[in-house]
Amino acid sequence: MKQIQEAYIVAATRTPVAKRNGMFRNVRPDDMLAHVLRGVVGKVPGLDASEIGDVIVGCAMPEAEQGMNVARIGVLLAGLPDTVPGLTINRFCSSGVQAVADAANQIRLGQADVMIAAGTESMSVMPQIMGNKVSLNPAIFEKEENYGIAFGMGLTAEKVAEQWKISREDQDAFALQSNQRACAAIAAGHFKDEITPYTVRTHVPGEGGTVRVVESVCDTDEGPRADAAIEKLAKLRPVFAARGSVTAGNSSQMSDGAGAVLLMSEAAVKRYGVTPIARFVSFSVAGVPPHIMGIGPIEAIPRALKAGGLTQSQLDWIELNEAFAAQSLAVMRQLELDPARVNPLGGAIALGHPLGATGAIRTATVMSAMQRDASIKYGMVTMCIGTGMGAAGIFERV
């Protein structure tokens, strides 16, 4: 691809992440999206919203409450001009960072000067975790090499744990560290700047047929457990295999949340006089066997580094989505990633993983880290993807 200009991230924000059926159980994913769109636009005072070329939104189960092209509905609910379009995209767990890459590419190709990338997902509204209606193709069961398509994510984590020899103890220790890091980050206020607090308005039956509206302000991630302890984690039973090692404690949490990122071309940056946070460097995806989907980043990270002309040691901050401790550790060990640079503020085991929103949410976390700490030059957001893929996006502090 020959790009004609650079794309810069000038603002990023997110909701706090809620546990499935937690503080956002009555919050619609399109409302969460509208909220972060307003939030990110609000971070660039004086922005002429009609200049936004497109709003690309990642969502892993774009149906029901988050169906009907949730991106366009979010744009309209956010009060952006009718002229601003919206596009929903889906690459499962990487949808959010894919949206960032697609938005950047529009700028890099010269098709737009201002773009928004976002992600939204409510796992609370899904009656089943695999979406509203599960229906598998009979052909999957006709050939053994296709069986992996039918594997639940937890089962693929068991397969990775087995093949990469990741012990239960290591998984639990990793999970504990994730919780400890996340709790420390919350205590230190490290997420404050990236979160746009959400006021949940719940409609409950009041007196005499009237409806009472209860408001509560949500500004903190709900997932991290300050009381996490290795003994407690060790007691949990494996969920996906009778003699397995993957438990509810060392897997990512099911969550609700949204994130948004505002991107501009150099020309737009100059025109609005904003200070960009980072330059979009590169993005890659790669396929792996579906039955060990968790190792996706092992293939995606080197490709993204190569595309950006970087080496792994140049990465200062890595947001590696903790779908499962087993796959996170397999990726880290095989690529020899520095554990200190991976998820310094904790990961999805503690902070939660609202599927298609996670990529946008963790991009906001990297941007926030770059603004807080001038020593961070390169940051990455990477994750594994169901049915066997990996994605990685790299950013350079400017």
Partner: protein, 793 residues
């Protein structure tokens, strides 16, 4: 029937009994307010909330279905007493302290309506003394109402009148408890511990006494005093552990304090070892250690000689076991008396002392011998009460033997047997049971509610049951009528053991329905519990052994024909269900036009356990249900409804109540759930009559059922794939469950294809026969027949 309307119940005290009584009222569609003290800190109803949360976890479940919990409202004496004004029945179930109870009565009395009933669940305190704590205006509607633990499952409720209780109120309450809560009532006198506990605790004390006298182990005694003598599996000491050793000691203490003139008073002391255990905090099951203790998988028992626990291994000696197998009670008792084996001597001694005690006290503690016998059956789970056991063994011989032991100083006390014992040949006769107080026979209660029990439980010696008029029978079934109830509603009863369904039952069902169509207005499928344990596996195994697969396929086809005959009969077929209705039994339940079900119905399609799938129309019925339900849903996706049915069948889920059976789709919300199983036939006959009178027509065969087809099967297979890969199920489990999925989804046709009922039956049958030919399924069947347990292969 009484017109006592109990719209709402209040239970005071959210302890083990109070909370479970509340749960059972909620089971019976009566909303409950459950009270306890306000919590010292936190939420004011925290004590009750905790008790309600515990209800969900108790096993056996006090709730018929978990959603019943929503009908129990938490309350506290601090803020909520006003709510008592809405309650028609108030049951007090707080701790057994007279002064606490009287204090509470003072507090609540101003809030109780004069037409409400107030009753205490005390197990030992004097009801008359409690009554005096009530304002005079409420005393007429005050009485004792003594439930047994667990109240959902134990039939007995003792109803205790005071000197001032209104007789009409007691009759109304007895009626309500009998028909609405399904309880079996004994009217008890206001004597300490009433009837069942008075005799039951005496029996435990006698067992303890003779255990020590004969130097037997606790495990050995439990082997002797359980099912071997017609008592529950938990026998004596295990029961004590379950009840709680502290509770047992408390009851013994009550006897000690309140029965100073009882000739056996010297026995009413907790043995030293019992007090020592309590002191150590080993209170039984609730503290995980008592007389027994679990150590890993090994059950350990306290050994008094070693002053330590040892592996539990008690067994009945072969020569004693041989005596206990004797079906002639007179011979059995004579042999026990004659044997010098300590176990035999022990057994004779415990029977002798209980007989002695019951005869001595009959006049003071119970209205008649039938009440005492029933109290022990219903409150302690004995298969026969003490008097009927005695009578069966030869009244005069046993009486002479007891007196001889008393005379020889072998009895526990030298109080003589009352004179009436020697003047009679027994206590139960066709005309009634003996009342020592009245010196005459007493007939059964004439309360109208008992007219609803066509076959009530009987004690030995009562008049034989009315067998009705047989219209037709074969080796498998009998078609008969009770002309006094309805001469044109047939009763179809199975004759087989556990009402298993074999060739002769299938033939019988088909022929009986044909006759009913010609000669009758309706049919009730009724017999005593269990409803039916499923297909006759013995016959299936024999045919497999002989390689008669064609014959087996024909039998399956006949099974389907029998189900369809029930469903499409020209007269309504009402299934009267109680106890287990499994496999083919469940399919007959599903195919009936209507169900009258006892709350205690255990219904499920359990074929997967023997490597098979439901093929008597069970899968077809679920496919049909999904089709019907989906028609009402936007989008009309049938798979939504198949998914749960698939899990129910693949996991062989059994509903643990009629209410759960409705939830799982084995029964319908429009069916009748009765709490007293003795009323099933009465209700079934009347339901069949009403359906006939209302112009009953059978459902038509549906020619166009929308099925989940290939995508549905694949989606079920996805679940199986994950379970198999995760090591949760075996490859054969996978095969069996996939066969169920195939039948439920209407075969390998396109998703949303429309097929006939007969097509799904054909698919179901083909899958079933294929499994029958599978070696692993055959192994499962043999294993089940040999061990009674499912094989995981």
């Amino acid at each position: 029937m009484s017109k006592l309307n109990i719209r709402k119940v209040a239970v005071l005290g959210a302890g083990v009994m109070g909370a479970q009584i509340a749960a059972h009222c909620a089971n019976a569609d009566v909303p409950v307010v459950l009270f306890d003290l306000p919590a010292k800190d936190g939420k004011p109803n925290a004590i009750v909330d905790k008790a309600l949360a515990a209800l969900k976890k108790l096993d056996p479940a006090p709730l018929g279905s978990k959603d019943r919990l929503a009908y129990i409202q938490a309350a506290n004496y601090g803020a909520d007493l006003e709510q008592l004004r809405d309650c028609d029945l108030i049951i007090e179930a707080i701790a057994e302290k007279m002064e606490w109870k009287l204090d509470l009565y003072q507090k609540v009395a101003p809030f109780i309506r004069e037409d409400a009933i107030f009753a205490s669940n005390t197990s030992g305190l004097s009801i008359n003394a409690l009554s005096e704590g009530m304002p005079a205006g409420l005393r007429g509607r005050f009485c004792g109402i003594h439930f047994f633990n667990p109240p959902r499952y134990m039939a007995l409720v003792e109803l205790i009148a005071t000197a001032t209780s209104e007789p009409a109120m007691l009759d109304d309450l007895e009626t309500w408890l009998t028909t609405r809560l399904g309880k079996s009532i004994v009217r008890a006198k206001d004597t300490p511990n009433f009837v069942a506990n008075r005799v039951g605790v005496f029996s435990i004390l006698a067992v303890m006494h003779h255990t020590q006298q004969m130097g037997l182990g606790f495990d050995e005694v439990d082997a002797l005093t359980g099912p071997n003598i017609g008592r529950p599996k938990s026998a004596t000491y295990r029961t004590a552990d379950v009840v709680g050793l502290d509770t047992l000691a408390h009851v013994i203490g009550t006897m000690d304090a309140t029965l100073p003139n009882d000739p056996w008073h010297g026995l009413f002391k907790a043995p030293v070892w019992l007090s020592a255990l309590i002191e150590k905090g080993a209170l039984g099951q609730k503290t995980r250690a008592g007389i027994f203790r679990k150590q890993g998988k090994q059950i350990m028992v306290l050994d008094l000689a070693q002053q330590d626990y040892r592996p539990s291994a008690g067994e009945v000696a072969p020569e004693v076991a041989a005596i206990l197998k004797n079906r002639n009670p007179a011979e059995k008792f004579a042999q026990l008396r004659a044997s010098s084996h300590p176990q035999a001597q022990f057994l004779w001694a415990i029977f002798r002392d209980v007989f002695h005690y019951c005869a001595y006290h009959l006049a003071d503690i119970a209205d008649n011998a039938r009440d005492l016998d029933f109290a022990m059956r219903w409150g302690f789970g004995w298969s026969m009460g003490p008097f009927e056991t005695w009578q069966a063994a030869g009244w005069a011989d046993i009486a002479a033997a007891i007196q001889a032991d008393i005379d020889a100083g072998k009895g526990m006390v030298d109080a003589p047997l009352p004179a009436w014992v020697f003047e009679r040949q027994g206590v139960h006769e066709a005309a009634g049971s003996f009342s020592a107080e009245a010196g005459a026979l007493k007939a059964r209660s004439s309360l109208k509610v008992y007219d609803r029990q066509l076959y009530p439980e009987q004690v030995l010696g009562e008049a034989p049951k009315d067998r009705g008029e047989t219209l037709w029978e074969n080796d498998g079934v009998r078609l008969w009528v009770r002309a006094d109830q309805d001469a044109r509603i047939g009763i179809l009863s199975f004759k087989s053991k556990m009402h298993a369904i074999g060739e002769e039952v299938l033939d019988g069902v088909i022929e009986a329905v044909a006759r009913a169509e010609r000669e009758l207005d309706g049919v009730v499928l009724w017999h005593e519990a269990p409803f039916a344990v499923g297909a006759n596996l013995q016959q299936v195994a024999q045919a497999i052994g002989a390689g008669q697969f064609e014959l087996l396929e024909k039998t399956v086809a006949k099974f389907q024909q029998a189900s369809m005959t029930l469903k499409h009969a020209q007269v309504p077929v009402v299934a009267a269900v109680q106890g287990m209705a499994l496999g083919g039994g469940c399919e007959f339940v599903m195919h009936s036009a209507h169900r009258v079900m006892a709350l205690e119905s255990y219904v499920g399609l359990v074929e997967a356990g023997v490597g098979l799938i439901p093929a008597g129309g069970g899968c077809k019925e679920f496919a049909l249900q999904a089709h019907t339900l989906a028609q009402r849903a936007a989008g009309g996706d049938v798979f939504l409804y198949i998914q749960n049915a698939f899990q129910t069948i693949a996991m062989a889920t059994v509903a643990k109540s009629a209410q759960e059976a409705v939830g799982l789709g084995f029964a319908r919300a429009s069916d009748d759930i009765l709490f007293n199983p003795s009323e099933l036939l009465y209700a079934g006959i009347r339901r069949a009559r009403a359906m006939a009178e209302a112009g009953y027509r059978p459902p038509m065969m549906n020619p166009a059922i929308k099925v989940a087809g290939r995508n549905g099967i694949a989606t079920c297979e996805m679940m199986l794939m994950n379970m198999a890969q995760g090591g949760f199920i075996s490859p054969h489990d996978y095969t069996v469950a996939k066969a169920a999925a195939t039948a439920l989804c209407g075969g390998e046709v396109e998703t949303n294809a429309k097929v006939s009922e007969q097509w799904i039956l054909d698919v179901e049958r083909a899958q079933f026969v294929a499994l029958l030919k599978n070696e692993k399924t055959q192994q499962r069947i043999v294993h089940m027949l040999e061990t009674g347990k499912p094989l995981r292969n």
